[in-house]
Symmetry: C3
Subunit: 344 residues, 3 copies
């Protein structure tokens, strides 16, 4: 199964930046081990080019955006938004071979997605964007964490929520989690895990719902959507209140936008959406703060695992998988087979 | 002969910690490239387990000790003092394969010794502990230094005291050392080197003995006892005083407890024992301060050698051995043959 | 063609230090991946020895210079200026095999040059020293920069001055540079590139010449002299003044003394000589400040290239060469063939 040393899956969509990060001034970001320069063309479209100038390897991000082109800061080669060199100051004509790679991108909602794989395989219909991430019926807040660890282990962390009772004992975990029965649903490469527990909700949900001290049913779903996206869902039912058949239960959805930076580091964005306490900024602030604290526990755990593996030498690491790892193991096998497919 | 790149000798006892460092709260320490978690069971026995949880590689040191067990901080797997998993919160039964390695340890005097090699080869009678290290007839003081260098070179440093006249010219060396005749005694793998010089003792010994300015005979012995222990002995005779046949000459014994951390770093504990000025705390403080200064010179030298070797590429380093290196060369060959034996 | 991964050219002269840096107290410097210790003998001659003691690899630089010898700080082995061990304190005689390498050096003008290759190939007539670097008819000033990048890329930078219009747009570049026709002259391994532009000179030259706002003809030559030396020449003609046939035009010559430290770092000394405003200290200070600012732009560019290459993995870097790279490509091929020659 996939591990930190498994080659990346290139033929997939990954978030490379938040839309608001990209302007006329170029920025650089590393994705799957490649440095990409990002800027907006005059019409507002996001441009993503290979950051390394094809001439003498200078990073284009240190050049200058002019109109719909970027000019290398070393010898002045000018590239258009398609990566074609359109001017070499030292000569009259530009051979067509002089070009940098332009990456396919799709901007949707708050994010820019990039396709690092073969150009001809880029398939916009495979974009794992979720409508609710920017839908008016959902209130959202979100953040970013940099993880010094493999994206494989972050996916695995999110698929097996039994860790909530331990790693997140002080934040949004509940003791009942680890022992709750697990439902694993596999449909093709859509891997889902569900748990239902009766508990007192942790403050992150109890407070916005006004359910502090109240018994509730907490249903949690973990879904591996694609190498670049995992979705967690939490659905809550008040067990102490009147059992009215509310048409829509209070629900939280979290998009985990997972982008490998290098073999041992990962970009980690998340969007927390809720269908309750809508329009309440204080609730957004409170939930974001709580969520950030809990996700930081995950990041710290993954970094400790990485440190230990690097110290002891990765090749020596053997792991025993448990029944609760079923979804995680399937997901890791799936990532490995995708990676192997690309080697041929 | 053994060098920084030679594989470790596993079938040997090494000090992993001072007894007083180990309590109920777990601590982690790296020995021979492996991370070990240490804590005390309720009865007071020291427990040493593989720090990496066998499930998803989380370091157990970040978990919680409960009774005679340690609970992983990631998914709650509980291990007993023998490394057996006794609880997996997510399931009812625990397969016997779910376990982490428990290391054999022996606590003696101020130290905890560990056996990193094959369980079945662990031989307590081979423990190189020396009774005088914690004997009431000897006053002891001691310390710890971390060395960014190979344990092989530290052993070698201690076996060839001709460096006292140069590296320790400002601390406890005497100019006569380098030129003194050397007696090398080899019995099996017990390698000893002795030197006898007439000199004025350096302050570290002269002051506690009241021999400042006095001519003395200084006999120094270096003994390679085991990969994890070297013993230095200093015996002093006053040449200016009345030649009474004192039944016991003033003697200093130093245990050098040497534990490889990684190929290029070493844990270095030492115990300085004396049979004079006993019960005098000021003498202990003074000798410890002087000893620490001198040992720090050794550490600095080893670190400079390591830096230079890493800069130039270890494979290029060739060394010429001299007659005074006889003991060191034997010791290095011995370490190499022990390491090779383990490869088969 | 040569790149950061190409083996070094050893059979060549490189500057290892400025003369004024070397005194009786030893200093160490790394050249072509080897650490060298430098000091002056009593007669004033510079001595360059392998820094690593042949006995137990201790760096000699931490030893002591006594008379015309250096004494190792670990066990006291004493080496003469030829690298022969002349004293081993622990024994009476010294086998002739006990020696460290002594490097051939030539001190000329302000610099000490070293030959790291085969002793028997050392050819002083091949020393690329230029008389004008310390000639009374030229006023000189100079400095040193440490570059975290390959010396190959620094040579290339200096051979293709079309980058002046971009990388140095804010310092001593002029917009006309990139588009100016290029004259490439190859004679054996002497590679020269010349450009002639009509422009307003940048402040670094205009101010000392009193030509601010004046139209001038600027002729710039780049010459690859040897792996350790590149020479840039700037010749200026006032186009607005009376066209007297001045016997000697105002000229600036810059010696770029380029010494690989490791595969990814370079020592970079430079001497700026001029035949105008002679004896004027304020001009020297002003030109040095301006030059330092411009060269620092080169260093930054090379470091950015190195960082990006290391991030993406050097093996993946492919470069497209342009007609203006003709001289650079020839130079890089030449360095590669010199390196390959040494492998046999």
């Amino acid at each position: 199964m996939a591990d930190a040393d498994t080659p990346f899956v290139h033929n997939a969509w990954y978030v490379i930046a938040e839309s608001r990060e990209i302007g006329r001034a170029p920025i650089a970001r590393t994705v799957l081990g490649h440095s990409v320069v990002l800027f907006r063309a005059q019409g507002g479209a996001a441009v993503a080019l290979q950051n390394r100038c094809c001439h003498r390897s200078f990073p284009l991000v240190h050049g200058r955006v002019e109109g719909d082109t970027i000019v290398c800061g070393y010898h002045g080669l000018r590239f258009d938004t398609g990566g074609r060199c359109v001017e070499i100051p030292m000569q009259k004509s530009v051979p067509s071979a002089v070009r940098v790679r332009a990456y396919r991108t799709v901007e949707k909602g708050a994010f820019l997605w990039i396709w690092m794989g073969e150009e001809e395989s880029a398939d916009e219909t495979a974009l794992p964007h979720q409508e609710w991430m920017s839908h008016p019926e959902w209130d959202t807040c979100g953040g970013y964490l940099h993880v010094k660890g493999s994206y494989v282990h972050l996916h695995e962390n999110l698929l097996d929520l039994s860790h909530l009772s331990f790693l997140h004992a002080q934040s949004f975990g509940t003791p009942e989690y680890a022992r709750a029965p697990v439902e694993t649903k596999i449909e093709g490469h859509d891997i889902q895990v569900w748990r239902h527990v009766e508990c007192r909700l942790p403050p992150i949900y109890a407070e916005p719902l006004g359910w502090v001290g109240t018994r509730a049913r907490r249903s949690s779903g973990s879904q591996f959507v694609a190498p670049g996206l995992h979705v967690n869902t939490g659905i809550f039912r008040n067990l102490d209140g009147p059992q009215d058949s509310a048409p829509v239960l209070p629900t939280v959805k979290v998009a985990q936008l997972i982008t490998p930076e290098t073999q041992h580091s990962t970009h980690y964005w998340y969007v927390v959406a809720r269908n309750f306490a809508r329009g309440d900024v204080a609730t957004s602030d409170f939930m974001l703060e709580q969520q950030m604290a809990a996700f930081s526990e995950d990041v710290l755990a993954l970094e400790r695992i990485t440190e230990l593996s690097l110290l002891e030498g990765t090749c020596q690491v053997q792991q025993i998988s448990l029944p609760t790892d079923k979804a995680g193991v399937l997901m890791r096998r799936h990532l490995k087979s995708l990676a192997e497919l690309e080697q041929h």
